[in-house]
Amino acid sequence: MIASTAVVYRSGNGLALLANKCAARTFDISTGMVYASIRDQIVRAQLLIRDLKTSDPQCRKILIVGAGVAGITAAACASQFGIEAVVLETGDKPFQLQSAASNRRVGPFMYEWPSIVSEFQNYPNDDSGLCEALESTPTWTADSPHMASDLADVLSRWLRGRTFQEPVPRFFFGVAAEVARKYVKEFVTCVSKQQTDGSKDGVPALELPADFVALDGQRINGKSGTYLPDYVVLAVGMGTERVFLIDNEPNGVKGVPFWSQDDLRANCRMDWEVGVFGGGDGALQDVLRLVTKHDHPLTFIDSLEKGADSIKAKLNALRSTLEVLEQQSRLLASWSSGPVYDLIDSRCRELCKELSSLPRVADKVMSQMRLGNGIVYHVYKEGQFGRAYLLNRFCVHLIHACLQEKKAIGGKVRYVRLSSTLVRSASEHLGTFKVALDNGQILNLDRVVVRYGPNRDEQERSQLVKISAETKADRMSMSAIPLPFVVAR
């Protein structure tokens, strides 16, 4: 780690521009990203604006669509770099997505586990010695991972309390989606035409909304003028979340979206039969929320180490091995296509199996299981643990290994894996779900949790090498390149 208080001149190298470009003078910083934590969204937005300022110093105005973490950060960063920003948002307030989830916890460095950095709960965390962050970085402090809705409140207060330097960004909330859609389409069409045909037609200016909600929540009605951006930044979310149990049955059984309020942890006990479908981070997190006493995987790990020096020593001994495996997987993913995480996953399972054979570890893990007669059926395709972060996969593998070791755990929630099978059909009757699997098994469930993630078509689609309309498009992914923890000044 680098401890530095000296000012160092850091400029962009343009990678963020190429990695996020989606159309002529237009960037998409949200959709189909491999790294999509709240911290990643902050960093991605800052890198983009910094690189834009470096690579095109003539950029003076940008239009940002979306006022979530990425959009707001981009606006704050633009102001710091002397770029005027207008933000259009269809919702009535910033950080709307997280504000709806008061039962899902998030931490700034949680996915860096087993690195020691994962223990930091403040962002950007001056004490970490990582570096001095850009002045425009959203900041928060906490002792433990925040509830998502609390974090949205904290970030809103940060935004409202911020004194922006000129040019001050302008925020337009409650704007009709069609206004943004129509303008961006016109902008890209016109800019592209200039490039391909040498068209002299001017890019149209955006007619700023007359009727909108301001940052302070006041509804404004009055002429706002026009705005002609040099670039457009789309920050409209990760993409369409697949919440239907069967993809091609959009009227069938569906689960609650990831950032919506659910009742999985409404009671201390868990006596339902629940199906969790999918093998990504969302699915693994919900498995953990259902089967353990903990809202967050980090507190689960803490509980294993607490008051058990031998377990702590054992886990500490594993940390460096796990850290290297995780690093290798992430770096390999930057330079490869197709699955690369199977290597770390199989090693992770082996290590968990070894740990579970220690009676002390298995007992401690069982003591952290939730009380109740419920069963969590985890349905996923083998190898589908895909890009799940090590923290989530380690916790779930360890629980699974310990359950196999202990056999009987009376009065505690059970976790049953149904891998290598698919959902054949599903129906709902009076709040109960009947799910038939390809292996012939029928599940009668009280709850279904569908965590298939964003639409497959929207994954890693923002990088396309294509010289002309006729050239065959070659896709490559720059979205798998790891991001720094903090953007240094």
């Binding site: 962009g12 521009l17 690579s55 110093p57 800019v191 890019v203 078509d457 929207e458 396309l464 090498v465």
Partner: protein, 152 residues
């Protein structure tokens, strides 16, 4: 001296002394000559001034960090328009008011004085051209339309 003039004075001083110029060495000199102390966002002002001077060929960037002041600058031979632009805090560069008059990649902006240099670091035309390109690193039209549909 204005803040911008302080930065130019520091550049000239370092150039005359044949010292290595980067933001840190500039800052050290400015700290000595500034009566009002440095603003929190001093680096941003410094970068703006350097871009202005680069635009008219009075400084060159060497790599990411090092700056070379040309002889003309060292002789303090600043064109009036540069002084004026710096005094008002605006960047001096051939004006590109809007994409209407000169889209990126269509010749807008001053070429680097030495005709090259790393684009990403120095704002070369290469990057602007790629960013404005309708196909390169762009989604096919139908996929872009789907992306816009996600605005809800």
């Amino acid at each position: 001296l204005s803040r911008e003039q302080e930065i130019i004075a520091a550049l000239i001083a370092l150039g005359k002394a044949k010292k290595s110029i980067n933001l840190q060495s500039l800052r050290q000199i400015v700290e000595k000559i500034s009566k009002n102390g440095l603003r929190e966002n001093w680096e941003i002002s410094a970068r703006q001034v350097l871009r202005t001077l680069e635009g008219v060929g009075l400084v060159r960037f060497k790599g990411y960090e090092f700056i070379q002041a040309t002889d003309n600058l060292i002789k303090a031979d600043l064109p009036e328009e540069v002084k004026e632009a710096i005094a008002t805090g605006s960047e001096f560069a051939p004006q590109v008011d809007s994409p209407t008059t000169s889209p990126p990649g269509a010749g807008g902006g001053a070429p680097p004085p030495d005709g090259g240099g790393p684009d990403g670091a120095n704002g070369g035309d290469g990057f602007r051209e790629v960013l404005g390109h309708p196909y390169l690193f762009s989604l096919p039209e139908n996929e872009f339309d789907e992306l816009l549909d996600a605005i809800r």
